[in-house]
């Protein structure tokens, strides 16, 4: 087995294959300029881990936050039922949904409004237990991130199968989260989907809107490549 030699050296390859292999170009070394640029970007990303790894970490962070909030709600739900001004409002909400927890705040505001004064509102607020409120507040944003991520994951999968469906999913994301945290990622995928559908003008329009919204974003280069605008210049 160890006497195997490359086809071209041994000369025992079928003739058409030899002709093809002669045309092959060996892998090229990394150009110093690209190496320097790559290193610079890498270090910049190290300095800004949120920018570099946000798409990778977002699912885990969001998942952790949602689980944490679910646990908090489960733990504090009994005390909410006993001490809230209108306990039945919170008790009816599903434990894992943050909206259910936030219903507590309208309760306090309602009480204040009924009395027509800020003092009553303050008293109502003070009557509400403090601990559950701080525990329940943070999940609102992760919950949105989770949903955004789910939208985009679905769209990303669809993009490889059916660009039209992917685009619909991305448009749904745009309607639901017009200023979502992942809107640039969404727009990039939308440009990709439009190009796949041959709707180049729309893709270009959407790309230019994206560039206006976030000039110099980390998606700039990928955008240029998608649109076939030539290699990115030295940054």
């Amino acid at each position: 087995m160890t006497d195997i030699r490359p086809w071209l050296e041994a000369g025992d390859a079928p003739a058409p294959l030899r002709d093809l292999l002669r045309e092959a170009q060996a892998s090229q070394p990394l150009d110093a300029r690209i190496r320097a640029r790559s290193r610079r970007r890498l270090l910049a990303m190290s300095a800004l881990p949120a920018a570099a790894g946000v798409l990778f970490w977002i699912k885990n962070i969001a998942l952790g936050a949602v689980l944490g909030s679910a646990v908090s709600v489960v733990i504090y739900a009994p005390s909410l039922r006993h001490s809230a001004v209108k306990p039945d409002v919170t008790a009816r909400q599903p434990a894992a949904r943050t909206t259910g927890v936030h219903r507590r705040f309208p309760v306090a505001r309602d009480a204040g409004a009924d009395d027509g004064g800020t003092l009553a509102a303050t008293i109502s607020s003070a009557a509400a237990p403090m601990r559950p409120s701080t525990a329940a507040l943070p999940p609102a944003e992760p919950s949105q991130l989770v949903r955004e991520t789910q939208f985009l994951e679905k769209a990303r999968t669809l993009l490889g199968q059916d660009a039209q469906l992917a685009l619909r999913s991305l448009d749904a994301h745009r309607r639901e989260f017009p200023h979502g945290a992942l809107k640039l990622e969404r727009e990039l995928m939308a440009v990709d989907a439009l190009l796949k559908l041959g709707r180049r003008q729309e893709a270009q329009l959407r790309a230019s809107q994206m560039r206006e919204q976030a000039p110099g974003s980390i998606y700039e280069k990928r955008l240029s490549r998608l649109l076939g605008e030539g290699p990115a210049q030295e940054q």
Partner: protein, 176 residues
Amino acid sequence: MTLDVGQLHDQYADFVWRSLQRLGVPKGNLEDALQDVFIVVQRRLGSFEPTAKMSTWLFGICLRVAAAHRRRAYHRREEQVSEYGDRPDENPLANPEQAAIRQEARRRLQLGLEALELDRRAVFVMFEIDRIPATAIAEMLDIPVGTVYSRLHRARADFNEAIARLERPLKMGGTQ
């Protein structure tokens, strides 16, 4: 031993760059792919097992990044077409007919390579094109030499078959 992503980049960027080429990442996407690999390295460095071989770990990441690029390229054929023709060491105007023949050969070569599974492709390219000895490939990928030969054997058969498939319509008088 503390691993630093900057040092790893200094040490292994060339290896990653060449591996990505061997795995078929188109020239225009190489820089992005290189960046993708090191982003994953940065993210996963904590999970790297110190007893493992760094080049093997990096090659595994390259495989996944290249697979992702291949999936994307599958849906954007035009990106790959640009890979076939440009070769800096020749002037197509000097002998247009010869240049056309060579360009066609390169196109077929590319299609043949694309037919290979990625891990086989890497071994095939390293051995047949980069002329790296099997023992060195085994060392680099941290696999037994027998596995290198086995992958090479299968890759040769697949490559042969893919090229034969491309030849068939021409011999029957059709066009590609």
